[in-house]
């Protein structure tokens, strides 16, 4: 997690100047600066970091967004975009010297083209609402983060969010055709197209997952897929997590690409079972949920193959959902994993490392060691199909010592993920939370390349500054700069 960004205290005079400048073209209700109004925006889903923003702007039109950006750019005021505030890495953490640009009023679905299978929506539209409105056409939007009833499509674009079905259907980057918005100087830009590609560099891929640092997105064109005719899920029990991990590899080695493939360990199933009664096997050290979707023929065929693989891979029990209600019940526990932790512990801290699947056993053992080392519990839920781990450290934020131990626990796990050839974040983003671990994953030259890309869009560094990519100085202070070969990058930089 690292120490909080050093953000300045609110300067009352600056606040007045900026609020007044925005009021010249925004109505009073769209410019908030009194603390009682701005306080609700002090954090996103990562509540350990909080900062009351200097001013909150709530535009309703693209023209207003453009004018806010132009005006902030001219005054050199940092701007932090915000969607629904469900982010888990502090990407939308405000600044005391900046404007928080809340996109909550961009809630319209602008166009649905069922024949071309696209929908054009404003960025504040919740992920789940897209599938709801296109459902009458037999279509849906595939990426389904667990937060889908709340999180915005704009936030999904900024984080390249995934869901439990992304092994087969991809992440946000695979399901968005085009975004429109503005760079920090108010210049309108459009990346991608409604065709399947656009000329030049793939700026769409660059914008997706850029954590709101390259452009403010005001319109998103998503790709829609035909709803599978049917889906069924196999639930399998295992005596130990390693065997469960090998079963995942066996399914894929058999040439099967399931729609979803999720794992939970016993501490996780126990916590959720109390909460949602999903019918999980509490004797099992781990359970796997493996979903198959498609035509009835495909599903029947695949389920039979999956069951055969699981049986020979050491599953102690398997059951197959008999109807839609049962399928949703099997998933309900997985989807409620985070809130369930909130019921058994005052706080939980969710990690997001991704590893090559074959290293799963090793990493889970490492997490077990860390539980003992730091004296904290850590249930695991896991997008097993794509190697994305969500260990959940349970702690009490009221205890400064527990918070410190949690931070160190998490940092060690993320660094382990890098060491086994993985990454510190699979889908939640770096934000402010994992910024120090970026120094472990990337070399100085790589970080410099990120900064150079940022400068191409935002030379003064005014759009969501200080997130996602650490300065080299910060890495030097953190003392964990990745060493390439035997030579330290930038030997000329002072190291402490």
């Amino acid at each position: 997690m690292g120490e909080a960004l050093s953000l300045t205290k609110i300067d009352a005079e600056r606040q007045r100047t900026v609020a007044q400048a925005l009021r010249t073209f925004l109505p009073a209700r769209a410019v908030l600066w009194q603390e009682e109004d701005t306080r609700p925006y002090e954090c996103d889903g990562l509540t350990a970091y909080r900062k009351v923003p200097m001013v909150v702007a709530l535009p309703e039109t693209e023209e207003q967004v453009q004018r806010i950006l132009r005006s902030c750019h001219a005054m050199e005021v940092p701007v932090v975009p915000r969607g629904a505030g469900t982010g888990l890495s502090g990407g939308a953490l405000p600044r005391g010297d900046g404007v928080l640009l809340a996109m909550a009023k961009f809630m319209r679905v602008l166009r649905i083209d069922p024949l071309a299978r696209v929908a054009v929506v404003q960025p504040g539209v919740p992920n789940g609402a897209i599938s709801d409105v296109v459902s009458p056409f037999g279509l849906y939007y595939a990426p389904d983060p667990s937060s889908q009833i709340a999180c915005s499509i704009g936030g999904n674009v900024a984080e390249n969010s995934g869901g439990v079905h992304c092994l087969k259907y991809g992440l946000t980057v695979h399901n968005v055709l085009r975004v429109r918005g503005f760079t920090i100087d108010g210049e309108p830009v459009s990346f991608g197209s409604e065709a399947l590609d656009a000329p030049g560099y793939d700026l769409l891929a660059l914008a997706i997952g850029s954590e709101g640092m390259l452009a403010v997105i005001t319109e998103v064109t998503v790709k829609l897929l035909p709803k599978p005719q049917t889906a069924r899920v196999v639930m399998a029990s295992f005596d130990d997590v390693e065997t469960a991990g090998q079963a995942v590899a066996a399914i894929i080695a058999a040439g099967i690409l399931p729609a979803g493939l999720e794992m939970m360990d016993r501490p996780a199933t126990q916590a959720v079972e109390e909460f949602v009664h999903a019918g999980y096997d509490l004797e099992a050290a781990a359970i796997l949920l493996c979903e198959s979707d498609g035509t009835p023929e495909e599903v029947e065929d695949e389920i039979a193959r999956v069951r055969a693989v699981l049986a020979s891979a050491g599953a102690t029990r398997t059951s197959v959902s008999r109807d839609e209600a049962e399928r949703l019940r099997f998933w309900s526990g997985r989807k409620a994993a985070f809130p369930a932790m909130g019921r058994i512990s005052p706080d939980y801290y969710c990690m997001d490392g991704t590893i090559p699947r074959k290293r799963l056993g090793e990493v889970l053992n490492f997490i077990g060691d860390m539980e003992r080392k730091y004296g904290l519990r850590c249930p695991n839920v896991f997008h097993a199909g794509d190697g994305n781990l969500h260990p959940l450290i349970l702690f009490d934020a009221a205890s400064a010592d527990e918070l410190r131990r949690t931070e160190r626990f998490a940092a060690e796990v993320l660094e382990k993920c890098v060491a086994v050839g993985g990454t510190i974040t699979g889908e939640h983003g770096v934000g402010v939370e994992k910024i120090d671990q970026m120094c472990v994953q990337f070399s100085a030259a790589e970080l410099e390349t990120f900064h150079a890309l940022k400068r191409a869009f935002d030379p003064q560094g005014l759009l969501n500054p200080g997130k996602a990519v650490p300065t080299l100085r910060r890495c030097a202070e953190f003392g964990r700069m990745r060493v390439h070969g035997a030579q330290l990058p930038h030997p000329e930089l002072p190291r402490f």
């Binding site: 069922p114 024949l115 071309a116 299978r117 037999g138 390249n160 992304c166 991809g170 980057v173 210049e187 830009v189 197209s193 065709a195 399947l196 590609d197 656009a198 000329p199 030049g200 560099y201 793939d202 891929a205 660059l206 997952g209 599978p228 590899a249 894929i252 040439g255 099967i256 690409l257 035509t295 023929e297 495909e298 065929d301 695949e302 991704t354 699947r357 997008h383 199909g385 794509d386 190697g387 050839g421 990454t423 510190i424 974040t425 699979g426 889908e427 939640h428 770096v430 970026m438 990337f442 070399s443 030259a445 790589e446 970080l447 390349t449 890309l453 940022k454 191409a456 869009f457 070969g485």
Partner: protein, 354 residues
């Protein structure tokens, strides 16, 4: 960094210092594509070989000089494939050139484009710096997505030295159905079918004949074929036909007239141009053999909501790719400068200005 990379890096550093343009090249199979190659030849074929491949991880990592055919053969031995079905255009095609060109084949509309399967890349930038982005895991949002940015950059941002790609299991079975129908009806039909849960993995329409490939489990194909009708082709011959379309060896592509690649929203109306077309990707990719001037073709494409690339032949000097809006052109120049400040890597290959 191994010795081969160190030598390539040194070469790039020296070229940057003396502002000597470099022409990065693999098998040269795509020399025809993009702006005229120029500069001193930098052959990437020496840096070859599969670095790691574990079928159960669905990832392969290989060096740029690895022949595409060799890589695909290894995947096929393990029942897997590059799902974007990249065109080779010559037996010498390499992985590096394939990623730099960013082209995808018949399965693109169903499975995704090359860039969708790029998980990570190692690259030597225009300063000869050895950089790694992304990785070998399916999901990775640490840092900007530079490896996808490299896909289709035509070597203008760096020498793509090593790539990790997501691979997929080969379908259990494939069948091809053929239908007689005129262009407008074929467009309407393929779009409508794409909105239904059918295992369609490729379409091609030309001269009144629509071919539709289905991929998946035997039972699913049988059910879909029953629903769609059409006339089923023998599977080996059909497989050869799809390869011929991908490799542009079907008769449509022969002849001297310039070949345009017109990328459109899939349901765009038939292009208001008189010449013959071959339509793939459910309507989203329209190949056009036309001697019409660039402004006419680009105008028709833009009007239909897409863009046109002068793919093969014609006057490359007038620009191969659709011109960019001023704001995007500025971003392109800045991004190019971030990777290659001396402007030595494949200059003019993507856009004349850089």
């Amino acid at each position: 960094m191994d010795a081969a990379i160190a030598a390539l890096a040194e070469r790039i550093r020296a070229a940057a210092e003396s502002r000597q343009a470099l022409c990065i090249r693999g098998g040269g199979s795509k020399d025809f594509y993009g702006g005229e190659p120029r500069g001193e030849l930098l052959d990437a074929r020496g840096y070859a070989g599969i670095v790691s491949y574990e079928p159960s991880e669905l990832v392969v990592t290989a060096r740029a000089g690895t022949p595409l055919a060799e890589l695909e053969a290894v995947l096929a031995d393990n029942g897997q494939m590059l799902a974007f079905e990249p065109p080779h255009f010559s037996p010498g095609a390499t992985l590096g050139g394939c990623v730099a060109a960013g082209l995808s084949g018949p399965r693109r509309a169903a499975a995704g484009a090359l860039r969708d399967f790029v998980l990570g890349a190692r690259v030597l930038d225009g300063r000869g710096r050895w950089l790694a982005f992304g990785g070998e895991v399916m999901k990775n949002v640490a840092g900007y997505d530079v490896s996808r940015l490299l896909a289709g950059s035509l070597g203008t941002l760096g020498l793509i030295a090593q790539v990790s790609l997501k691979v997929l299991p080969r379908p259990q079975r494939e069948i091809t159905l053929a239908f007689e129908m005129p262009e407008a009806r074929a467009l309407e039909t393929t779009n409508r079918w794409a909105g239904l849960p059918l295992p369609i993995s490729a379409t091609a329409w030309h001269d009144g004949r629509l071919s539709v490939r289905l991929s998946g489990a035997e039972s699913a194909l049988r059910a879909a074929a029953e629903k769609l009708g059409g006339e089923a082709a023998a599977s080996e011959a059909a497989a050869r036909d799809w390869t011929a379309i991908r490799e542009q060896t079907v008769p449509f592509f022969a002849g001297e007239a310039p070949l345009w690649r017109v990328s459109l929203p899939s349901n765009a109306k038939p292009l208001a141009l008189p010449e013959a077309q071959l339509i793939e990707w459910g309507g989203a990719l329209r190949w056009l053999k036309s001697g019409a001037d660039a402004a006419t073709v680009r105008g028709a494409a833009a009007q239909a909501g897409g863009h046109a690339t002068l793919f093969r032949g014609g006057d490359r000097a007038a620009g191969v790719f659709a011109p960019l809006a001023p704001a995007l052109a500025r971003l392109h120049r800045e991004i190019k400068a971030a990777f290659d400040p001396a402007g030595i890597l494949n200059p003019g290959r993507l856009y004349r200005e850089f």
